[in-house]
């Protein structure tokens, strides 16, 4: 109890300084949590597009971005009739722009695609899709920001398209996207006869390994992966994740510097007190434990406040209409654990030098000269 009181007493002596350190950690944790969760959500949404009513994906081997992947139509036709395949849906990604919106994601799909069939059609009829080359279906959010209604003729990129439906989906990318018939998209993006990926539904999930090896054997330029495997290995996702953690990590480093500053001041202003503890039998390890205890309390309180702030921020972002479908407030337990662990490690790192300094204090000098 006294050991704990020594820790808390010292923090309460310099309340403002301690609070600033706690705030530093809290903001770092909140920033890390927010950035990582938003990017995880974005990755989850993109994966969701690919895994809609499918469990495997086929794309061009060794491409860094699926937008640059080319899967020949012949491969789609051949794979679709493999005995283990329930259905194979080609999907073409493209990016277009309109007057006020520099980036609008386009999906070239067939009429049989689950993304079209299983979505909630707010306006229009699913049966009308792909009847004409200039037909497009808009996601509800895309319709809102493009100010488009059913039946409108909408200029997108270098073409004008007829809006034949508006659909609602929980996926932010799809909700903010434009769905075109595959052939129209191929023509629009100058990718005649190819798609970006094929999403595959297997008759039996146990055939995944056999399917992958068959793709490898038959198509040297293509690769087949299970959805989870793709999410883990896709280089764009890796870059996004690394960026998120790096941004959050920088925040924590700054928070750690705050803790280090507080702890250094804390040690410097009570050299005599540490000397008294040493004279009364405190070991160097006990002195270090006290310093680490202080930084641990700062880190834990900061982490708790940061998690609270980050969660509130995510909920607030989710309420912003423009971000509808883009922000996933579900905080992954692994992310939560890593953030708390990093906050603690930051606190410990911040206390390393102060603790080492405190351990080196010579009682006899501190008592003689102070």
């Amino acid at each position: 109890m006294i050991f704990l009181k020594l820790i808390l007493t010292n923090l309460s002596r310099h309340r403002i300084r301690s609070l600033i350190s706690v705030a530093g950690i809290a903001f770092s944790v909140a920033a890390m949590l927010t950035v990582v969760t938003i990017l995880q959500g974005a990755i989850g949404m993109f994966s969701g597009i690919l895994s809609s009513d499918s469990e495997m994906i086929v794309f061009e081997r060794n491409v860094s971005d699926l937008f640059f992947s080319n899967v020949p139509a012949a491969a789609v036709e051949e794979i679709a009739v493999w005995p283990m395949v329930a259905h194979a849906d080609p999907l073409l990604f493209g990016i277009v722009s309109s007057a006020d919106h520099p980036i609008i994601t386009c999906f070239g799909v067939t009429a049989a695609d689950a993304r079209i069939r299983k979505a909630t059609w707010v306006e229009g009829d699913v049966g009308a899709f792909a009847q004409h080359a200039d037909d497009v279906v808009l996601g509800e959010r895309a319709a809102a920001f493009l100010s488009a209604k059913l039946g409108d003729h909408l200029p997108i990129g270098h073409g004008v398209f007829h809006v034949i439906g508006i659909l609602k989906t929980a996926n932010g990318f799809e909700d903010g996207g434009v769905f075109m018939p595959l052939s129209s998209a191929q023509s629009f993006f100058h990718k005649e006869g190819s798609s970006s990926v094929i999403t595959i539904k297997l008759r039996n999930k146990d055939d995944a390994a056999a399917f992958k090896s068959m793709v490898k054997r038959k198509y040297a330029s293509l690769i087949g992966l299970e959805d989870a495997e793709f999410t883990r290995s896709y280089s764009q996702f890796k870059i996004l994740k690394a960026t998120a953690w790096a941004v959050g990590g920088c925040g924590l480093v700054l928070g750690g510097l705050g803790v280090a500053n507080t702890m250094i001041m804390s040690v410097f202003t009570r050299i005599r007190e540490i000397a008294i503890l040493r004279v009364n039998g405190f070991s160097k390890v006990q002195i270090a434990a006290m310093i680490f205890g202080e930084s641990g309390v700062v880190s834990l309180v900061g982490a708790a406040l940061g998690l609270l702030t980050g969660t509130c921020l995510l909920f607030a972002l989710k309420l912003v209409p423009a971000l509808h479908g883009y922000v996933d407030v579900a905080i992954h337990p692994v992310v939560l654990a890593i953030v708390i662990l990093l906050a603690l490690l930051t606190g410990i790192a911040g206390a390393l030098y102060p603790a080492a300094y405190a351990m080196r204090i010579r009682a006899v000098e501190a008592l003689r000269f102070e």
């Binding site: 050991f3 007493t9 002596r13 004279v279």
Partner: protein, 240 residues
């Protein structure tokens, strides 16, 4: 009347009881030898003795106490506690936790803690179980008249009470040796007398060996032995 506290005299002392503290030809200087404080100081103290170290400021009284407590090491010579050379003591922590207690001129208490918490610090360091520590705390505070002040913070205590608290803290782990560096130096005459009486009473009943640095001749004369420090050496003064 003074005689040199030479090893020959020390041998006489040793024959009277078990030697618990000894300094043999101890040299100590500061600032790379610019300030020589101890120049071959030698003496021995037997168990349960009370010894006063007198001498002018800067003569090395505090330095000698710090050497006995393992807080500093001599440049040359040997300082031993219970027959073990201090600067070769395998576990200096054990020395500070179990064998030696310190009382300083300034009480050196932690102001934000209560009297009880300050006293319990050595037991926390030593890992003493809470029940025994509290029993010891009550025993000591009862004897020093501080029981009613247990929950009070140090700022609320008088100078005498603070020094009595420091005395209790020094004795919490039942050390065999108490090193007191002008323990009444910061107190008025009345408080000084009271604290010194308590000090003598406690060391007598607990069988503790006391080595006390002091400027107060009146207090020094009440110790079993009075050692004078001059020119970095120690001279025994025989009580009149």
């Amino acid at each position: 009347m003074t005689t040199s506290a030479t090893p020959a005299n020390d041998q006489v002392l040793s024959s009277q009881g078990r030697c618990v503290l000894s300094a043999t030809d101890v040299w100590k200087s500061y600032d790379d030898g610019a300030i020589e404080v101890l120049k071959g100081a030698s003496f021995e103290v037997v168990a349960a003795q009370t010894v006063a170290l007198c001498g002018p400021s800067g003569c090395g009284k505090s330095t000698l106490l710090h050497l006995f407590g393992g807080l500093d090491s001599p440049d040359r010579g040997q300082v031993s506690v219970n027959g073990i050379e201090v600067n070769r003591h395998r576990n200096l922590l054990r020395l500070l936790r179990e064998e030696v207690g310190f009382v300083f001129q300034l009480h050196n208490l932690i102001p934000d803690l209560t009297l009880a918490e300050n006293c319990l610090i050595p037991t926390v360091a030593a890992g003493t179980d809470r029940r025994s520590a509290h029993a010891r705390l009550l025993q000591l505070t009862e004897r020093t008249g501080l029981t009613h002040r247990l929950g009070h913070r140090i700022q609320k205590l008088s100078g005498g009470e603070r020094q009595r608290t420091a005395l209790c803290r020094a004795l919490m782990n039942r050390p065999k040796i108490l090193l007191a560096d002008e323990p009444t130096g910061s107190l008025d005459e009345q408080s000084s007398g009271l604290v010194f009486e308590l000090l003598l009473d406690l060391v007598a009943t607990e069988g503790v060996t006391l080595v006390m640095a002091t400027h107060d001749r009146g207090l020094a004369n009440r110790c079993d032995r009075l050692l004078e420090m001059h020119d970095g050496r120690i001279h025994e003064t025989v009580h009149a």
